[in-house]
Amino acid sequence: MHIIENGNVAAALGVKLCRAAVIAAYPITPQTPVTERLSEYVEAGEMKAEYIHVESEHSALAVCIAASSTGARTFTATSSNGLLYMHEQVQWAAGARLPIVMCVVNRAISAPWNVWNDQQDSISQRDTGWIQMYCADHQQIIDSVIKAYWLAEKVSIPIMVCYDGYILSHTYMPFDVPDQELVDTFLPPFQPDYALNPEEPANLNTVTLPDVRMDVNGKLAHGYMEIRYLLHEDLRKTPAVAADAEKRFAEIFGRGGDPYLEPYRCDDADYVAVGLGSITYQLRVSVDVLRKEGINVGVMGVRFYRPFPDTAIAKALKGKKGVIVFEKALSYGYEGALVSDLKSALYEHLAGTGHLPLVQNFIAGIGGREIRTDDLTQNFRAAIHSRIAKEPVWIGLKL
């Protein structure tokens, strides 16, 4: 069924179709409409779920962690400082291997206060062990939520589905809402390996020791290091499972493609722009403009940011003359987040092969500063003609 709605509604519909059983969220701009819409579904009886009006984001994820440990499919959503407030729990959920799905409606972080879009909030969580997916339009939002539940429950790792605040959350686009039957076929009920219960008691997430130790059955159990390593190992295996998810999704819903990347006119491009989220669609306009000027360019969206699809990215960019990374977040005092990961992947796979592209980094849209497509095009063009600077260049700065 095709509808025209905003990105937040797309997310809420995805959660509804996935039959999330426990929802706990705390209001924060621009996430609020997601949870408001979900509360409407629950109160109207359209969704059979427990909706918890928590008193903070830290508690929101705490409720999800406890509910998921006891065997329920859970959901929460947040932005910006809300995500920062729950950071302790974000780390916890990954370490506890719980398949929680959380929508992050990307918003700038504080200080100082800012309610508009950039991606610093979710980017700041990139090392926590959560899987991160970035959406460029509303279809991707609803589809990613559905894929996320399947993937999370398969690998037992929580997932953040991220989309740009206001630019996607509050704007209207047409998209397809899949049939409930199809979603039920794609996503069966949650069956955890273990759910806390009195019949089979266990003590979950207690203190672990630096070294391995005998359990009550006389077998050697993992130490903390092993438990953490297994999270890392399972994340390294996740891209293959994500490809399965994409394939399965395409079979059932009839749409899908590359699980990790969204290329546009990249095949014969000499220079490729790379980004996360809606900025990549804006860059398509720049690509078309520059193509008309005779420059072979393309743009590639990174759909799957964590675990970083280094192999796929290196393969896609191999032999390109230049890669220009436009992003809305950075590691302060150094450079953009995506560009760092990308350079590392390119170096890892292509150093010494003669196919290593030059890389240029642009920072844009911080705190919701308007990104003018003309500015993108100009800077893209300038980067192609001469590598502008080794340092990241901030577009639209008005010092």
């Binding site: 037992s156 069956q191 390996d193 008691p201 266990a202 979950l204 207690t206």
Partner: protein
């Protein structure tokens, strides 16, 4: 469709005694029960059991006579202090021979 074996990938503990090891090695004195003063022993029926009630470590059995699990008894002395007939005294561990201790 479920996740396989992820409980071994998390901190998932099953229950059993002695998490703290042989906590009996902590004590410097041990409780000794004089059955001639112990109320359930004298009456030969269920009575008192205050020592059983207050033991923090579940090492006193609710039996006639109450038995102390010296493998885990930490020697806190609460049982001795609370016994209404002073049937329990705390005795220096050193007074017990190595042989006796090995037998436990």
């Amino acid at each position: 469709m479920g996740t396989r074996n992820y409980r071994r990938k998390t901190s998932h503990s099953e229950h059993g005694p002695g998490d703290g090891g042989r906590t009996g090695s902590w004590r410097v004195e041990r409780p000794v029960i004089d059955q001639s003063l112990c109320i359930p022993c004298k009456r030969n029926k269920e009575a008192c059991f205050i020592c059983w009630l207050f033991c923090p470590d579940v090492v006193i059995s609710r039996t006639i006579p109450p038995k102390i699990d010296l493998e885990y008894c930490k020697g806190c002395g609460i049982c001795a202090e609370e016994c209404p007939t002073k049937a329990i005294t705390m005795v220096d561990e050193a007074k017990f021979s190595d042989e006796e201790k090995d037998k436990e």
